[in-house]
């Protein structure tokens, strides 16, 4: 097994650590999907 290229999703500190070791890192831009309940609340609050 060898590690040349890594796809990283999540905490930036781990992504930076991989880069520090010379690994080619594809850093995925990730954020949690919107909360469905909150979306509904937002829609309702705009309608009312």
């Amino acid at each position: 097994m060898r590690v040349v290229k890594v796809l990283a999703v999540g905490a930036s500190i781990f992504t930076e650590s991989l880069k520090r070791q010379g690994v080619e890192v594809i850093e995925v831009d990730w954020s949690p999907p919107p909360e469905l309940e909150k979306d509904l609340e937002d829609i309702l609050s705009r309608m009312l």
Binding site: V3, A11, P34
Partner: protein
């Protein structure tokens, strides 16, 4: 509250930052002039409740939802602090969005994927990557156990390796994932469900001049009955076939010994295997020797790998023991242990229990007593600050050891405490300023009280923070070369018997060699 101080909140809607980024911003705000207190959190229900308890939540903060960030400050000029916070958050925002989305990146050919998102989102991301045949390192916790079993079963079918969920550490061909150290390459393969245990073994072997081929962290629950060691079996097969691996170590904590035995029986073994099931009294797991401490495991491996190196280490070890014995006084009080690494906490509890002390802890072992409250020590206490109760909504204590360090400082001032032992984990995944921060947080307390503080640095001279460990030399602390020796020292000083170090060394570290 000083009338000139004001509490104010800023809500930034629809912006996500991980707990480390939020902590970095919080630290920066706390250092600003006129700031009494500051917090930066995703506005989940529990985080809003925590802000309320701290007196940092305003009407503005109450309007925030779980996908929003709340910046809360108590300061003499709160408005300008919040403005700075807004600029820093939005500046980070444009930099953050430079990367591709998962949809855009999913077809890239990669060797591994590293996943450290909140547990509820792991299944979707990991499943998609698995179907592409990508090996996974999953740091996240709070992943449902049925998801773990399903991911690992699918990975086995596809011939792909899944490390985690709850994998703290892995070193693959010299590259560290999660919390790991810069370690020499060498003949030792490791399979472990215990992150800080893998780090301690790797660091001790490095000290002895022995390197690691691959250290495969399988996740804290892999060796439980529910998961049945699916990834451990695959990892052992990989190491058996690996040309660079000559000897294999298996490290677990709080796991079912029978599962480990079953796992070892299910693999065609062609290389020596040694285990450390921390907390277990057994000398053998099946036909394989089991070590009571990680230092003992490292010594046994060293002896197998290179007689020359073992002889050199043995002399050095005896010198260290003599040095520690000279520092033992008649502390006459309780020993206390406060850890960022759970496996190291277990090891210390085991050593103190073996010495006949009744150990109180927040961990679950048949041979310890549970603390009524983790925040209140009783007798010989060991607390694992990586436990869920301390990490909810906060970074792991290896990243942010502030709570642990505050506890160390507080306990050093207690009359019935004779000695405190703690770990200081450096390396990949730990902040660049981890040593400086820790020295800053415990320095005053150790200079102010005539108590002993034993510290074991889990790191190697190749780790990027190693240079900072010189700061420890300026403190009246006892620096031990392994956690087992640090635990032995704290117990010896508390009981007021030098021979305790000798007993632990002979029976739990040197073992048959003594």
């Amino acid at each position: 509250m000083n009338p000139a101080e004001d509490v104010a909140n800023l809500v930034v809607r629809g912006l996500y930052r991980d707990s480390v980024q939020l902590m970095e911003l919080m630290d920066r705000l706390k250092r600003m002039k006129g700031v009494v207190d500051a917090a930066v959190v995703m506005a989940t229900d529990s985080n809003r409740e925590a802000l309320k308890k701290l007196g940092l939540l305003t009407q503005q903060g109450l309007t925030a939802g779980p996908n929003d960030i709340i910046v809360a400050v108590k300061a003499t000029d709160a408005a300008s602090v919040l403005e700075t916070a807004r600029e820093l958050l939005l500046k980070g925002s444009s930099a953050h969005r430079k990367g591709p989305s998962l949809d855009e990146a999913i077809n890239e050919k990669v060797d591994f994927a590293s996943i450290s998102v909140p547990g509820r989102y792991v299944n979707e991301i990991a499943s998609r990557l698995l179907e592409r045949g990508t090996n996974l390192f999953i740091f996240s916790d709070h992943v449902p156990i049925d998801v773990e079993v399903s991911l690992k079963t699918r990975a086995r079918e596809m011939g792909v390796l899944v490390m985690g969920p709850e994998a703290g550490t892995a070193i693959i061909g010299g590259i560290g994932f999660g919390f790991a150290n810069s370690i020499k390459k060498g003949p030792v393969g490791v399979v472990g469900s215990a992150g800080s245990g893998i780090q301690e073994l790797a660091v001790l072997l490095d000290w002895m001049g022995i390197g690691i081929s691959h250290a495969i962290g399988v996740g804290g629950r892999d060796l439980t009955k529910q998961v049945g060691g699916i990834s451990s079996i695959e990892a052992l097969k990989i190491l058996m076939d690996d040309r660079d691996t000559q000897v294999i170590a298996v490290i677990t904590k709080q796991s079912d010994e029978e599962i480990v035995k079953t796992v070892l029986e299910s693999v065609r073994v062609t290389k020596p295997i040694m285990t450390a099931i921390l907390g277990s009294q057994r000398k053998y797991i099946g036909q394989y020797p089991n070590s009571p401490t990680l230092h003992n495991l490292a010594i046994e491996i060293c002896r197998t790998a290179s007689v020359e190196r073992f002889k050199a280490h043995y002399s050095l070890f005896l010198e260290e023991v003599v040095g520690l014995k000279r520092l033992v006084g008649e502390g006459l009080g309780h020993p206390r242990g406060f850890y960022s690494g759970g496996t190291l906490a277990t090891e210390t509890a085991y050593i103190w229990n073996w010495l006949g002390l009744q150990v109180y802890t927040n961990m679950t072992h048949s041979w310890t007593k549970k603390l009524a409250k983790s925040s209140h020590s009783e007798g010989a206490t060991v607390v694992d600050f990586g436990d869920e109760e301390f990490t909810h909504g906060r970074p792991h204590p290896i990243i942010d050891p502030s709570l642990r360090n505050a506890r160390v400082s507080a306990e050093l001032s207690l009359e019935d405490v004779a000695a405190v032992v703690m770990d200081l984990i450096i390396g990949y995944g730990a902040p660049d300023n981890i040593v400086e921060k820790t020295v800053g947080e415990v320095g005053w307390a150790i200079r102010s009280h005539a108590k002993k503080l034993a510290i074991h640095v889990v790191g190697t001279p190749s780790d990027h923070q190693w240079g900072q460990t010189g700061l420890l030399e300026g403190l009246p602390i006892v620096r031990a070369p392994s956690n087992a020796l640090a635990a032995a020292f704290a117990a010896a000083h508390s009981i007021g018997e030098v021979d305790v170090i000798e007993r632990v060394s002979n029976s739990l570290i040197l073992g048959d060699l003594a």
